[in-house]
């Protein structure tokens, strides 16, 4: 081929190539997505799920615009308010989803639920997390159970072989650990929410789950004697020196590290801690294990607090069909199994083979199957109220002696928020 021909052929071929690739891109649809599964919370596994979706559905391309876990809360609000929402976003089931539903910003997914017979695979116990004002708005992705995660080697060294089921046994165990020179409880409340699990269980197990739900809905007062008793019980543990000092200086991963390193014996946390530890090479059952929060008053119902993470589609999503296709992929037994193992979550669907669970997750899953599930504090009450409560928990961990004043101040917030 002479030079002149080459000069003609090369640009021509390039134009054809460009046109061809433009055609392919035009056929491919973008699904923009925002989620809060950053670094320690399963980012790698989530990206792998997007890749397997794209491999199976060549017509779609997932565009992941995610920020960090704490920044997500602002990011999603700004994109929705600016009418530039993603097609799909991860969201905590409960009060936060309710808040967006009430603002008419979410697409109802009831038809999608029925067409795909999701009742067959999502257990009745998990379904309430999906329903708001009588319609489906949040498709569950996983469930997290909050309980004690402990270091078995530390327990063994202190001579503890049986995990406590009652409050007296729990106190005795903390005493034994303290005498052995180990801090019994690690808590990292730098970002405040890890402290809420203590409040949740204290109220549910001293005043009952019904009272606790009334408090969350603004129908009870933070300075009621019931909440005072709950805080006094919590204060008893802090005063006895069972907590690692300066909880507000550490993040939840710092507290997890304190347990893993043997500086503390246990931490009250969600099952997502297993994903963090597994990622650091810890062996479930050997390096860490689980026991449920011990019962304080045996006359009250046994509950578990936790989180249901789900997916929501904004009302003005550009590609709702793409979002729904991706949702179906997230609910396949294979995706759910991969997510459960990668993130340390319990699957939201019932057709996952639970033999894939680690022995620790199996324990959490069995516990969940027996008891009533209640969302954690900041997912049970409205976001403005949750801000007031979360602050109070941090204040309490700094100096528990002022708990009565803190409760009065929090009730003042509640009066404002609920218009009492």
């Amino acid at each position: 081929m002479n030079t002149r021909k080459l000069l003609f052929v090369v640009p021509f071929a390039l134009i054809i190539l460009l046109l061809g690739s433009a055609l392919v891109t035009a056929q491919q649809q973008d699904i923009s997505i925002v989620h809060y599964y950053s670094s320690a919370l399963g980012q790698e596994t989530m990206s792998a799920l997007f890749q397997s979706f794209e491999a199976a559905n060549g017509e779609y391309k997932v565009v992941d615009n995610s920020a960090g876990h704490e920044d997500f809360k602002t990011q999603i609000l700004v994109t929705i308010a600016g009418n530039n929402p993603p097609d799909l976003f991860s969201y905590w089931a409960g009060a936060r989803t309710q808040f967006v539903v009430d603002a008419d910003r979410l697409m109802p997914l009831t038809d999608f639920w029925n067409e795909n017979n999701l009742d067959d695979i999502i257990p009745a116990g998990v379904k309430p997390a999906a329903v708001y004002n009588g319609e489906i708005y949040n498709i569950p992705m996983n469930v997290h159970v909050v309980g004690f995660f402990y270091n078995p080697k530390v327990m063994e060294a202190a001579g503890i072989t049986e995990m406590p089921a009652t409050w007296d046994e729990f106190i005795a165990m903390c005493d034994t650990l303290k005498t052995a020179g180990v801090a019994p409880i690690a808590l990292g409340s730098l970002n405040r929410w890890p402290a809420q699990f203590w409040f949740d269980y204290m109220v549910s197990y001293t005043a009952g789950a019904d009272y606790r739900q009334a408090l969350m809905a603004g129908e009870a007062a933070y300075n009621d004697p019931e909440v005072m008793t709950a805080m006094e019980t919590w204060k008893g543990l802090v005063d006895a020196g069972y907590f690692v000092p300066d909880a507000n200086a550490y993040d939840w991963t710092d507290a997890a590290d304190q347990v893993a390193n043997g500086d503390a014996a246990m931490t009250l946390m969600g099952t997502f801690i297993t994903g963090y530890w597994d990622g650091n090479g810890l062996v479930p059952g050997e390096d860490y294990d689980f026991f449920p929060f011990p019962v304080i008053n045996p006359e009250l119902p046994v509950v578990t607090h936790g989180t249901v993470d789900g997916w929501a589609v904004p009302a003005s999503a550009a590609n709702p069909d793409g979002a729904k296709a991706l949702l179906l992929h997230m609910l396949t037994p294979e995706s759910q199994a991969a997510w459960a193992l990668g993130q340390g979550a319990l699957a939201a669907v019932s057709n996952v083979d639970t033999s894939i669970y680690t022995p620790v997750m199996k324990k959490a899953s069995d516990y969940l199957a027996q008891v009533q599930f209640l969302s954690g504090y900041d997912l049970s009450t409205t976001p403005p109220m949750a801000e007031g409560g979360l602050n109070m928990f941090a204040q309490f961990m700094n100096d528990p002696s002022g708990y009565a004043t803190y409760l009065d101040e929090t009730e003042a917030v509640a009066v404002d928020v609920f218009g009492k």
């Binding site: 809360k73 609000l77 929705i80 603002a103 910003r105 403005p384 801000e387 941090a394 700094n398």
Partner: protein, 293 residues
């Protein structure tokens, strides 16, 4: 200016002016507008509530807390960068070969984003292995090794120190520039008249640095009022609002508590305060210019 030139100038002003209108004036007016509503930040509907948000501001203990902290920050902004910046500038003014090296060294913090500075100081304050506590433990002062940013009594001052670290570098550079502008004859004349170093600094150099001081103080105050990034990275206003300033309080109300209307009211108050400071600055700098004209 003739007519053609006038039209040309107007034509060329249109692009920057429209950018200014779209990105400064419009959001500003929007904030004023939303401050009169109960908009939660993403709902389609909202109601007009008149001046209710402003009334609430003056009853809200969190607002007085944030306003108090902003005042503390502003006072610190006037004192720390000015005194430290002037001291460094005087120490480095005409001091041989190492002066340039030290100048660059002290200037370094300016090249860092405040978010990065926040991260560096988080490590400095870290309770277990941070620089401060490691030093304290190293000299046997274990009892003084505290969880600095987790204590409500130290969190705010901890963040201000990190912020002032950068602001001091900026002040130093401005003072150094001011020093080079002082005629050498004046200082030498004072020297010959028998003034010692301290007298020369107090009676000659500092009065002649008035223009530089106005710039240093005004910049420090304005930067302190708008400081948010360093606070966001270091404490997010915590623990429990102890280090909130007005900017952080505004952010929390708007984006954490979903009270965009109320948050806009805080923004309006913050805007008016900043405007007052800028007005004082312009007046002062005009006075100073007249003085030296």
């Amino acid at each position: 200016m003739n007519k053609t030139r006038y039209w040309w100038a107007t034509l060329f002003l249109i692009p920057p002016l429209s950018v200014y209108l779209a990105f400064v004036v419009f959001p500003l007016l929007s904030s004023f507008y939303y401050s009169l509503t109960d908009w939660n930040g993403f709902a389609v509907d909202y109601n007009f509530v008149g001046l209710k948000n402003f009334e609430k501001l003056f009853r809200d203990p969190l607002f007085s807390n944030a306003a108090g902290n902003t005042i503390i920050w502003t006072i610190a902004a006037i004192v720390i960068p000015t005194v430290a910046g002037l001291t460094l500038a005087l120490a480095m003014y005409e001091r041989g070969v190492f002066a340039n090296f030290y100048k660059s060294l002290f200037y370094l913090p300016i090249s860092l984003a405040l978010a990065v500075i926040g991260q560096i100081w988080l490590w400095i304050y870290q309770p277990n292995w941070g620089l401060i506590n490691t030093l304290l433990r190293g000299v046997g002062l274990d009892d003084l090794a505290l969880a600095w940013l987790a204590k409500p009594q130290y969190a705010l001052i901890g963040v201000i120190i990190a912020w002032a670290w950068q602001q001091t570098a900026l002040s130093m550079v401005i003072f150094l520039a001011g020093l080079t502008a002082i005629p050498q004859e004046l200082i030498e004349a004072a020297h010959i008249d028998g003034a010692n170093y301290s007298q020369r600094v107090r009676r000659v150099i500092i009065p002649l640095l008035a223009p530089a001081s106005v710039v240093v103080i005004a910049l420090a105050v304005i930067n302190s009022l708008k400081s948010f990034d360093v606070l966001y990275v270091m404490t997010r206003g915590g623990p429990f609002h102890s280090s909130d300033n007005l900017a952080m309080f505004m952010y929390n109300e708007s984006f954490q508590k979903y009270n965009m209307g109320y948050g806009s009211a805080i923004a309006v108050v913050l805007f008016l305060i900043t405007l007052a400071v800028i007005a004082v600055y312009f007046r002062q700098s005009a006075n100073v210019e007249r003085l030296y004209d």
